[in-house]
C-alpha cells in the first residue's frame, strides 16, 4: 500500500518515534502491533458537576476496547457533549479517572494536552471548519500541527479527501461547500492523522436525514479501517440501523442499554445454530 511505503521513508516514523519521548505518546490507528494496552478508554467513577446540587455525570464507569463503535445517546442536555469533552480534556473531571491508552489523562498539564489531542480526531455538529481556508488547508492543518513535511501532507490529505468523497475539491474555498460537504471536510481533518480514537459529537445533527445517513456510513467505513469511534447522537433511526453498543446518559447516569459483545455473541451462537441445522 502507498501508506505503508510512506510510513517507511517519511516523517511518520520520525513523528511517532519522537512521540514516545514526548509527554504523551503518539498512537496510530490500524497498527498491527499495538504499543498500548487494551482497553483504549476507561472511565473510573467519573463525576462532573456544573451545578453543585446536580451532577451532569455521576460515577460513570465504562470501558471501550480498541476498534469498537459506540453510540452515546440521551436527550438534549443530558451530558453527551460533556462526556466527550472530558475525553479530549476541554473540561476537567471533578472526581474519578479517565485512562486513555492506559494513561491517566485527568492530570495532564497544559503542555501535554496538545499531545493527547493529536491522538483524537473530533467531529462536531457545527463542523468547526475555517470558512475562508480552502478544503485542502482545513484538512492539512491537522498534519501541519504534527510537523510533517509538505510532500507527505499533500499525499495524505489527497487520500483523506478521497476517503470522504471530496476528491478534486481541495482547492475550493470551504465556505462555498454545502453543509454535508463541510462536515466531510471536518471528518477528513479528523481522520487524516489516523488517530486511534474518533469522537463525533452529533455530527449529523445539522443535516437532513439522507445526508445524515451518508455521514454515518462514512463513520462506519472509518471504523472498519481500525479506528475506535464514539458517536454521540440522539437520532434513534441511526442507532436502530446497526447493532453497535449503545451507552445512554440520563440524569447523570451512564447506562449500557445495548452491549456490543452480547449482540456479537448472539450473532455467533446463531451462526453455530445455523451450522448445526445445516448438518
Amino acid at each position: 500500500m502507498a501508506m505503508a511505503s510512506d510510513l517507511a521513508n517519511s516523517g511518520w516514523e520520525q513523528a511517532s518515534e519522537e512521540g514516545t519521548r514526548r509527554p504523551f505518546a503518539y498512537f496510530r490507528a490500524g497498527l498491527t502491533q499495538n504499543p498500548y494496552p487494551k482497553p483504549i478508554l476507561v472511565f473510573e467513577n467519573v463525576t462532573k458537576f456544573h451545578r453543585p446540587d446536580h451532577p451532569t455525570l455521576r460515577n460513570v464507569c465504562l470501558e471501550v476496547q480498541k476498534g469498537e463503535f459506540v453510540f452515546i445517546t440521551g436527550p438534549s442536555g443530558a451530558g453527551k457533549s460533556t462526556f466527550l469533552q472530558l475525553i479530549y480534556q476541554a473540561q476537567k473531571v471533578d472526581d474519578g479517572r479517565i485512562l486513555f491508552c492506559g494513561k491517566n489523562i485527568t492530570r495532564l498539564n497544559r503542555d501535554s494536552l496538545p499531545y493527547l489531542r493529536r491522538n483524537i480526531g473530533i467531529v462536531f455538529q457545527d463542523f468547526k471548519v475555517i470558512p475562508h481556508w480552502t478544503v485542502f488547508e482545513n484538512v492539512a492543518i491537522a498534519l501541519e500541527i504534527l510537523g510533517l513535511p509538505t510532500r507527505i501532507i499533500r499525499s495524505r490529505v489527497g487520500e483523506a479527501l478521497e476517503r470522504v468523497g471530496l476528491k478534486g475539491k481541495g482547492a475550493q474555498e470551504t465556505r462555498s461547500l454545502s453543509g454535508g460537504e463541510q462536515q466531510r471536510v471536518a471528518i477528513a481533518r479528523a481522520i487524516v492523522g489516523e488517530p486511534v480514537l474518533i469522537l463525533a459529537d452529533e455530527p449529523t445533527g445539522n443535516l437532513d436525514p439522507q445526508l445524515a445517513l451518508d455521514i454515518f456510513t462514512l463513520f462506519e467505513e472509518i471504523h472498519q479501517t481500525g479506528a475506535t469511534v464514539l458517536f454521540a447522537t440522539h437520532d434513534h433511526s441511526l442507532i436502530e440501523r446497526r447493532s453497535y453498543r449503545v451507552i445512554s446518559i440520563e440524569n447523570g447516569y451512564a447506562k449500557e442499554v445495548r452491549s456490543h459483545s452480547m449482540r456479537e455473541s448472539l450473532h455467533r451462537s446463531r451462526k453455530v445454530l445455523h451450522a448445526i441445522a445445516d448438518r
Binding site: P114, R117, K128, W133, E137, A142, E144, I145, T150, R189
Partner: protein, 292 residues
Amino acid sequence: MQMHSILRRVFRRLGAEARLQGVALLTLTGALIAMLIVVVFVLNMQLTTKSILRRANVAVFLKDGVSQEEITQLQTSIESVSGVRHVKYLSSAQVREAFFSNEASKDGLEGLPPEAFSPLIEIEIEEDGRSFTVQQLAEKLKRFEIVEAVESHESWQSEVRAIASIINRLAIAALGLALVGIAFFISNVMKLTLSSRKDEIEILRLCGASDGFIQAPFLIEGASYGFLASWISVTITWFLKNLADREFDRVFDFIGVRLVFLDPWMIAAFIVIVTAICTVASAFSLRRYLHV
C-alpha cells in the same frame, strides 16, 4: 518548528484581514513619521547649537605693539590650563582677512587698514569636563598686561544651552510617550485580531496545536507591523528631509546649517526598537487575551 505552516498562516491572514491590517499599518506609519520628524529636528538642533557654542568660545584682544615673545608666553600659559582645547593667535592682518572673508560685512569698509583691527588670541574650550567657568578664565586673562579686553559669550551661551536641553528633554518625553502609545495601539490591534480569529484558534487547539504553534503567526504579524512601518516611515521622512533641504536651502544657508538625517546605525536602532516594541506588545496581548 513548523515554519512552513506558520508562514502559510501569516499569509492566509493577509487577505482575510486586509482592512484591519491596512489601517493598523497606516496609523503606525503616521505615528512613526511624526516621531522621526521630532528626532530629526532635535538632532539638527543639537548639532547647530553645538557648532554655535564651539564657534563662540573666548576671544582675547591684545594691546597694540605687543612683542611676539609676550604673545608666545601668554599663549603657552593659556595652553597649560586644563580644559583648553586649542589656542590660536591671529595677527591684525589675519583678523582683517577673516573679517572680509565674510561677505555680509564687506560693504564700504574695504579701506580699513590692518591697524584698525586688534590682534587677538582665540581660545577654544572643551564643552565638558573643565574645572573653571568661562567667567573665571576671563577674569584671570584680564590681569595680563598685554590684554586689552576679553570677550566671552558666556551668558547667551548658557541660555542657548538651557533652551536646547529643555527642548531635548521635551522631545525625549514625547518620544517615550509615543512609544508607549505605539505599544498600546499594537496590543489593541492584536486584541481585535485575536477576537476575530477566535474560532480559528479554538479549532487549532482542538486539533492539538501547541501554544507556540498558535501564537507564532500573531507574533510574526506584530513584528511585521513594526518592521514595515519603521522602514516606510524612515523612507518617507528621508524624502521629507530632502524636500525641506531643497525648499529652504537659502534659509539654511543663511543660518549656516546643513540638514542632517539619521546615520545608518541610528536608522537600524530605530527599526530594531520599534520592531521589538511591537513584538513585545503582541506577546503581551497574546498572554492576556489568548484563552480559548
